[in-house]
């Protein structure tokens, strides 16, 4: 019994950590990762007062879009799930068939770039931002119905230049990495607008 009790506490701990890393894990995903039944996952969530995935995402999404300045909500590829302006952001893209290439059935790389690029722009606390350069690395093919969780972090700021690193995962697999240099052009635009 004592062992069982510890097992459960450990599992609760693990579950909370996994969900912090990726709030989009479904009960099925958690059951698979923790090697327990879906029923057990549901009971655990109830005890821990963790709502189901859909509800979690809705809660997170509220208010997230409110602070974004450099890009319109509708232009963000994927769904924003968390953003700390000027620091870090998370978005999730659910791959549907129209995004895959018919020859290979693999997600077209442009979507991974667009998800990363729009997330990077959303992070910059300014009204005008543009991407200058980008280094992209496509690590493994992504297929229909997979969910891509992108995490973008501003790693350096120098003057009006921001270095943003993006890592995108499907579950535990790294599928894409990007290093983007984004320019805050608000001052340039202000100067143009105020010049005679």
């Amino acid at each position: 019994m004592a062992k069982n009790g510890n097992g459960k506490a450990d599992r609760h701990n693990l579950m909370q950590r996994y969900l912090e890393g990726n709030p989009f894990l479904t009960d099925e995903d958690l059951a698979h990762i923790l090697k327990v039944s879906i029923q057990t996952v549901r009971l655990d969530r109830a005890e821990l007062k963790i709502p189901e995935m859909r509800e979690r995402v809705k809660n997170m999404a509220r208010g997230i879009y409110r602070n974004i300045r450099a890009i319109e909500e509708s232009e963000i590829v994927g769904q924003l799930v968390d953003i700390e302006m000027g620091r870090e952001g998370l978005s999730i893209l659910t791959v549907n068939e129209t995004m895959t290439m018919s020859k290979t059935r693999v997600l077209d790389g442009r979507y991974l770039f667009a998800q990363a690029n729009s997330l990077a722009l959303a992070l910059i606390d300014t009204d005008v931002a543009l991407t200058g350069t980008a280094k992209l690395s496509f690590k493994r093919p992504v297929f229909k119905d997979e969910k891509v969780l992108a995490r973008a972090t501003i790693t350096r700021k120098k003057g009006n230049k921001y270095m943003v690193r993006v890592s995108s995962h499907v579950k535990e697999d790294l599928v894409f990495q990007g290093k983007l240099l984004v320019f805050d052009l608000s001052e340039e635009v202000n100067k143009l607008e105020n010049s005679p």
Copy 2:
């Protein structure tokens, strides 16, 4: 008169060279570049038996799509205008408002990447090709109604890896550069399909 004659021959020469570099130049563009009237450009074209832009593009497009293997025609962003399989290709993207970002009115970078990436894939003479890495450089903002001419060239081939360089111009301005590493995966796929 003699001088005029030489001027015209020079102009004919220039016009042909410009049109080889960019078959999408309109009569207006040519008039601007050559500093003559549109009427003069039309007369020159008639003498040189060069059809008008629309007709030129239609002629070029015929048969171009026939040889492509690694990507579906419908998945190519922009219009293919010339392709020499395994060597070089040209495509043109006309920017409309839906492709621009509403905050900055600038073409969303994903389209420049998608144009370059789909053109690079179209060049590879294989049934299965995927992009591994990409270095992108956005040189100047592109706006609505501008035409982006992308030129992709295979600069190196080593085993199943192709290095493809892409330069995209709006008229004489370089707006985008990309260096893509593309993998021909047809052998891997064949192995998988033939394994028991």
